[in-house]
């Protein structure tokens, strides 16, 4: 682990809409950075993947709100309860945003809330910004990286 890009970014996408999954894949390939994309298509399966320790570990979660079996807000609640301060950043990507939904997501521990952009270039730009913010760099310990992340309103990791 000596080169800056020694480990690809592991993104978990919790999304039931096939089109949206495909669009996200396309946009991510345009970023030209190594990314591993895992997909969960329901709320419970997304939650299971968030809570289990995978290898490589999930670096960030892109979470839809309207999901089968359990909605994104409840996934957020359970995930932050289960993982506490060890929880990876969870970003909500919603089809249509309301201020109520935004504040509710933030209250339940989301790191950020975005509505899904309508243009491909806008979506690519958003994902680039996200990856730049959360990409792990091998030249610094991971925990330090975590502290650099935007304030999530939680206890800092010990």
């Amino acid at each position: 682990m000596s080169t800056p890009t020694s480990r690809p970014l592991h993104i978990l996408l919790v999304e039931d809409n096939e089109d949206d999954v495909a669009i996200t894949r396309i946009a991510l390939t345009r970023l030209d950075v190594p990314v591993i994309l895992s997909v969960a298509e329901t709320g419970p399966s997304g939650l299971a993947k968030i809570c289990s320790d995978s290898e490589p570990p999930v670096d960030l979660v892109l979470l839809d709100i309207n999901l089968p079996l359990m909605n994104g807000l409840d996934v957020l609640t359970h995930a932050t309860e289960a993982r506490g301060s060890r929880c990876m950043p969870i970003l909500v990507l919603s089809t249509s945003s309301t201020t109520e939904e935004t504040s509710e997501a933030m209250r339940r521990g989301a790191s950020a809330y975005h509505s899904k952009p309508f243009r491909l270039d806008e979506y690519t730009a958003l994902l680039r910004e996200i990856v730049d913010t959360y990409a792990p760099r091998s030249d610094s310990p991971r925990e330090t990286e975590r502290e650099k992340r935007p304030d999530r309103g939680r206890e800092p990791p010990r």
Binding site: N17, D19, D20, I23, I26, N66, T95, S96, T98, K116, F118, R119, L120, D121, Y123
Partner: protein, 484 residues
């Protein structure tokens, strides 16, 4: 005392001053005139007859008469006539002594008429009435009282008179109301109060009845009181029916309101889910048309690329409509946070935003200072955004565009010198998705004014517009004065 003495032929020999005054108002001496010439009508014959009767009679004759005098006026007299005799014992004149009792008779007749009237009034009264003496004993009752007693099976209706009315109430003082009645009547009889009134139910097995009782002192000397009972059942029944009607009306309104609220909530939920569900495939269309242009654009000719562009911009526009719909449905919910709001400041902020967004436009804007209303500040800002954004947009073709925000009672107006509109369409202005102008260059989402109107409606205010094609438009905003 009136005294006449007339000779055997009726010629007046003597009349005392009272007689002169009485008979002819003292105008001329009566001596030498025929006694019956002083009278008129039947009086002439009556006086003549009585004169001769007295002349023939050996004793005095007493009469009570009524006759007309010369000069008018019917008089009633009490008279005594007797013959005066000469030395030979033969009657040679008649002495007539009289007292005029006309006044007394008139008073008696008037009193009689008055009593008859009182009795007729009491008898015809639909209320039961009794007169009590100072002890509370019944002294008189009217026909209705007796009829009521009969209808309700009183053993002997006549037994009412002489009965101890208040005592009867006191004896049956089982409950609070009855005790109150007895106390009320006693108070009136004692002069503590002038009147006492009470409404009470008195249901019979066959019908619901209510009575109004009214007790009134006869005079201030405490000689007794009049007691009335009148049937107030019709008005009570009407009142109860009205109360029942009101109750069911309120219930019906509640039900309707609930139904309506449910319908509105369902509609809003529908709007939200539809605009959400439509967005997703729309986004796919938009992004795939971007992909198509980027990855395969070279394979298309100019026309093909233009058509792809139309597809993409249509999808984007539709997404804008869905956003607008969502916002509109959102406006219907949530409570208003009303406070004093400076519309002038809001307008200035909005204009600053518009200028920043559109720096090449040169619009002359005037905003009257201190336009203060009461309302929800973010929502009022949305209203100003829509009105000013509208004015901004529709003046875009003007070389010298002008927007004015001015004061009017309870709010403001926003006037522009833009392309205006036809007043025939003034109501369509505020309907969702209605646009009065074809030009796509100035197209909005068709929801801005609908949203503004909805906000103003929720505040209980009014929003309306005046305009003429090509002559600009004025939007008027009126909000109710805020409660403290």
């Amino acid at each position: 005392m009136i005294v006449f003495i007339a000779d055997r032929n009726g010629v007046v020999e003597y009349a005392n001053p009272r007689a002169e005054e009485w008979a002819l108002n003292g105008r001329s001496p009566l001596e030498g005139r025929l006694l019956w010439d002083l009278f008129e009508g039947s009086g002439v014959e009556l006086v003549r007859k009585q004169h001769y009767e007295a002349l023939r009679s050996t004793g005095a004759i007493e009469t009570q008469d009524k006759f007309e005098r010369v000069g008018g006026g019917e008089r009633t007299t009490l008279s005594i006539r007797f013959a005066l005799r000469g030395d030979d014992g033969a009657p040679d004149s008649v002495c007539w002594e009289a007292i005029d009792v006309s006044l007394r008779e008139e008073q008696r007749a008037r009193l009689h008429r008055s009593e008859a009237l009182s009795r007729a009034v009491l008898a015809s009264m639909p209320a039961s009435m009794a007169v009590l003496d100072a002890d509370g004993t019944i002294r008189e009752v009217n026909d209705r009282w007796l009829a009521f007693a009969r209808e309700n099976g009183a053993p002997d209706p006549n037994a009412w008179v002489g009965a101890d009315y208040v005592g009867a109430w006191e004896k049956s003082a089982a409950d609070q109301d009855v005790a109150e009645v007895a106390r009320g009547i006693r108070d009136v009889l004692a002069g503590v109060r002038q009147t006492f009134s009470l409404e009470y139910p008195c249901h019979s097995p066959s019908e619901q009845r209510w009575f109004g009782m009214h007790v009134r002192a006869l005079d201030s000397a405490g000689t007794g009181a009049v007691v009335f009972h009148h049937d107030i059942s019709p008005s009570m029944l009407a009142k109860l029916a009205l109360e029942r009607l009101n109750a069911t009306l309120e219930q019906r309104i509640d039900e309707r309101t609930r139904d309506l609220r449910t319908a509105v909530e369902e509609l809003e939920m529908f709007t939200r889910s539809v605009s959400h569900d439509l967005r997703s495939p729309l986004r796919t269309m938009s992004i795939y048309s971007d992909l198509l242009r980027e990855e395969h654009g070279a394979a298309l000719d100019e026309t093909g690329r233009e058509r792809l562009g139309r597809l993409s911009s249509a999808a984007t526009r539709m997404a804008g409509y869905l956003d607008g719909l969502l916002k509109l449905s959102h406006l219907g919910r949530g409570s208003l946070d009303k406070r004093e709001t400076n519309l002038s400041a809001l307008a200035a902020e909005v204009i600053t935003d518009l200028r920043e967004h559109d720096p090449e436009r040169d619009v002359e804007v005037s905003i009257e200072a201190e336009l203060v209303v009461v309302g929800d500040p973010p929502l009022l800002r949305a209203v100003m955004e829509n009105l000013l954004g509208n004015a901004w947009k529709y003046t875009s073709s003007r070389r010298r565009a002008r927007i004015e925000v001015g004061a009017r009672a309870g709010g403001c107006f926003v006037r522009d010198n833009g392309i205006g509109f036809d007043m025939a369409f003034k109501d369509r202005l505020f309907m969702p998705f209605q646009r009065l102008h074809e030009s796509l260059a100035i197209a909005g989402d068709g929801l801005g004014l609908a949203a503004a109107k909805r906000i103003v409606d929720r505040h209980g205010g009014r929003l309306w517009a005046e305009g003429r094609p090509d002559m600009g438009a004025t939007f008027y905003l009126e909000l109710p004065p805020g409660a403290s």
